[in-house]
């Protein structure tokens, strides 16, 4: 069963002079096991959307259902793991162990079951056991991000929702988190992430949801997003689009260096022959 949003709208500071409409008429469906990217400019409504998935916000109109359940119900909360933009804001325990154990204990799992889940979670995010006794606030940005991820995973969620999980990390931290998310997805958990980092995430995304001024501008496969020329794009895809704009016959679905090389060499041979014939 999926996450479904039907005709959902949401405003901040409703009925005050500061009322801001953040989302309008959102219809969305996210299946189990998908890797979904939520894209869009600053203020497009991406963070607000993630907070509707797990019931932090209630829609003003329309409905949100997680596997048929109300997202603010206890049962639904167990199905959705959240990692917020600033992982540090989400941590509050004295040790990494307590931090990761918090969710399972809160949901009434036994000490033994909880311990098992903590170890499973740190393995999934490749945190070392020796880190469990550390103070989460003494960790680096990348490590904090992994602890926040592990806390979310300890509930064995069906859907993992993340808001810009690699923003601000160093290149090693970024690649680590990307690999981890890919592994989590391979094991069957849906990964739904807001991101500006297209270079890092594009190879992983199966589906793209593009928000523009609170509305859905596109939702569908990565391939159709590329074919239809939506933006933002990772640098290589952006370059391919520019070639297309200049009238060259290119494959717009190309976004990796290897594929671009092949495309450009193909162009070279086609156009090279044309030139010779012209002479």
């Amino acid at each position: 069963m999926p996450i479904i949003l039907e005709n959902v709208s949401f405003s901040y500071s409703k009925k005050t002079p500061l009322e801001t409409s953040a989302l309008r008429e959102i219809n969305l469906r996210i299946e189990k096991g998908e890797f979904v990217g939520i894209l869009g400019e600053k203020g497009a409504g991406k963070s607000t959307l993630t907070k509707l998935f797990n019931g932090i916000f209630k829609p003003e109109t329309g409905i949100v259902r997680v596997d048929g359940l109300d997202p603010s119900s206890r049962e639904a909360k167990r199905k959705i793991g959240m990692v917020f933009q600033q992982a540090a804001d989400q941590l509050f325990c004295k040790t990494v162990y307590e931090e990761i154990a918090f969710g399972p204990l809160n949901f009434g799992y036994s000490k033994k079951e909880t311990e098992q889940r903590v170890y499973e979670a740190i393995e999934a995010v490749s945190l070392d056991q020796t880190e469990l006794s550390r103070d989460p606030f003494s960790l680096s940005g990348g490590e904090m991000q992994r602890v926040a991820l592990a806390s979310a995973l300890a509930l064995r969620p069906d859907y993992l929702v993340l808001d810009e999980p690699i923003t601000g990390l160093d290149p090693i931290g970024k690649n680590d988190i990307l690999k981890t998310l890919n592994r989590i997805k391979e094991k069957g958990t849906a990964v739904i992430t807001v991101t500006h980092n297209l270079k890092g995430f594009f190879p992983l995304l199966e589906k793209i949801v593009l928000l523009r001024e609170g509305r859905i501008a596109f939702q569908g496969s990565r391939e159709s997003y590329l074919k239809k020329g939506f933006e933002p794009l990772p640098p290589i895809a952006s370059m391919m689009k520019e070639l297309g704009v200049r009238g060259l016959p290119v494959n717009l679905t190309v976004f990796t260096v290897e594929d671009a090389l092949e495309e450009i060499m193909k162009l070279k041979s086609i156009l090279g022959t044309d030139n010779n014939e012209n002479k």
Partner: protein, 274 residues
Amino acid sequence: MIRLEKVSYSYPDGTPALENLNLVIKKGEFIGIIGKNGSGKSTLALQLSGLLKPQAGRVMIRGMDTRDPSKLPEIRKFVGIVFQNPETQFVGRTVEEDLAFGPENLCFSPMEIRKCVDMALAETGLEKYRHRSPKTLSGGQGQCSALAGVLAMRPECLIFDEVTSMLDPESGISVMEIIKKLHRKGKTIVYITHNLEELHDADRIIVMEKGKVMLEGEPKSIFSDISLKTLGFDLPSLIELAETLKTHGVIIPWEKTASPQSFAEEICQLFLKT
């Protein structure tokens, strides 16, 4: 203009951060600094601005030794630093008040303060926010305001420590444009980042590793150095594509790898010329 000679520094808890580091920064240069977390970039930035003093070796800023307390006011005037999280730097109730704080501390006259604040607001495009509380600004505006706060002190040299890393791409680009303009006007810029794309036009790039300078050179040579990959860095995709194309006999000049537009333009030139 700034010279580090055999600088070593460990934090009070004993963590070593810089080891025997040598570096010269010339007037008007745009220097990019990259390196993994914990490689010592921020510590270096603090040394360059006189906020930390070396335990061994010395840091000379326009002939002034940062260990000489009598030179500190002069050094403060000469070097400004902007950090990743601007919130931690705000002190004033309005943007304008916030910008006046630095020049006031440097004992500028009220008239000078007025002039410096106005210039800083103009240079960062923040005139219309002058009466707003800095805490209500968006990420990008906040970062501009922190930059304006530093500009109000009219420093010659500006140090930026991961100022765009928490911003969305559009805000990051606009902050970067302001910084590039300051560089064109003659300011010396030291720019710390994880985003190599931002350093395409830098005069020089320093790669830090374990408190030392591991590589140093023009972007062109640094980006083609394979040791960068072993340090965990991914090259900007367009540069990587240009490198791969080169091995297939298609040469894209360095300047053309700066943007998807210029890259595509060059491919067209190459393939469509008759």
